[in-house]
């Protein structure tokens, strides 16, 4: 009987129980904290990848028109609604083209036929950068890359735009 007692001494027993209980308590404290810290990672990716920009496909012409819309941006805990802009038109094949208006030089907003001297081109007011209708930069002007194009899809006759994809320099 005394041998059996020796197998787990009082000291060991107390050690085990205390470590066990302590471990549970620590885990109970840390788990919610950890959950909280990595919460944004666990959130399902937002559906907001594509946004309805409020333009019906039938209203898109071969002349670029400016559309402004807002996206919901969640950066960790910080939510904001930054504005986005695109120039949208149909090319000769009837495909929809959506170009980012952000000049690839220093980031001003370009406009279609923004200069009377250069019809049928996108014009950057800051340093006279120019792009042809398909968004390719005109050689000899400051920009070194074409305008980015937006990811797009059409649903129920409405245009949805996603991310702007940069293009390689010409």
């Amino acid at each position: 009987m005394s041998e059996e007692k020796q197998q787990v001494s009082r000291r060991q027993f107390l050690n085990y129980t205390l470590t066990g209980v302590g471990g549970f308590m620590a885990a109970g404290l840390l788990a919610p904290m950890l959950r909280m810290a990595i919460d944004p990672v666990l959130q399902p990716p937002s559906e907001g990848e594509f946004v309805n920009v409020g333009l019906a496909v039938e209203d898109i012409t071969t002349t670029p028109q400016r559309v402004d819309w807002k996206i919901k941006q969640v950066d960790g805990w910080y939510e904001s609604e930054p504005g986005r802009t695109a120039w949208v038109y149909k090319d000769d094949n009837g495909d929809i083209i959506a170009l980012s208006p952000i000049c690839t030089h220093l980031g001003c907003v370009v406009s279609w036929e923004g200069s009377e001297d250069h019809p049928n081109q996108f014009f950057c007011p800051c340093h006279d950068g120019r792009y042809t209708k398909d968004g390719v930069n005109v050689k000899g002007t400051p920009p070194l890359a074409p305008l980015p194009t937006f990811e797009q899809k059409v649903e129920n006759g409405m245009l949805y735009l996603g991310k702007a994809i940069p293009r390689k320099g010409a």
């Binding site: 402004d68 609604e81 504005g83 000049c103 030089h105 220093l106 980031g107 001003c108 907003v109 950057c124 007011p125 800051c126 340093h127 400051p142």
Partner: protein, 152 residues
């Protein structure tokens, strides 16, 4: 460009392309409680305003941090301080320095300022984020951008 680390690195890398700066000046007061709404909207609307202007012309225009002053304070004193700001900016060199305000009180002190004063009539709104208001601001921004470009 805005006065942030990221933007200023870009600015320092291509300084030769920047020749225009804009200083938003914003009044502050607590003494006239009846007019608090009017005063706060000057700050809120102007912030949206200058952010939009900066977005349009970010490659050539530097947005200076907001300048605050007491709404019913001594404008002669403030004009002197503002001229110090203008001097600091001009020697970089910036060819065009604009001061943007919704406070009509500055119109009378325009001649004391070294920078170009752009006074715009402000407005009060509870729905700064509504589409109509943003549409309106965008329209006004386009006009101001046109004005700034006429100096280039």
């Amino acid at each position: 460009m805005q006065w942030t680390k990221k933007d200023m690195e870009l600015y320092l890398g291509s300084k030769e392309y920047f020749d225009t700066a804009i200083i938003p000046i914003i009044p502050f007061q607590l003494s006239q409680e009846a007019n608090i709404g009017k005063s706060t909207s000057k700050r809120e609307v102007l912030s949206v305003f200058v952010t939009e202007i900066e977005r349009e012309l970010s490659g050539r225009l530097l947005l200076i941090p907001n300048y605050y002053y007491l709404e019913f304070g001594d404008k002669d004193e403030e004009a002197k301080r503002l001229n110090n700001w203008t001097e600091e900016i001009s020697k970089q060199p910036f060819k065009h320095v604009f001061i943007l305000t919704f406070d009509a009180g500055w119109k009378r002190h325009e001649k004391d300022l070294d920078a170009n004063l752009l006074w715009l009539p402000g407005f009060q709104t509870d729905q700064l984020n509504s589409t109509e208001i943003l549409q309106m601001i965008r329209g006004q921004v386009a006009d101001v951008v046109e004005l700034i470009r006429s100096y280039w």
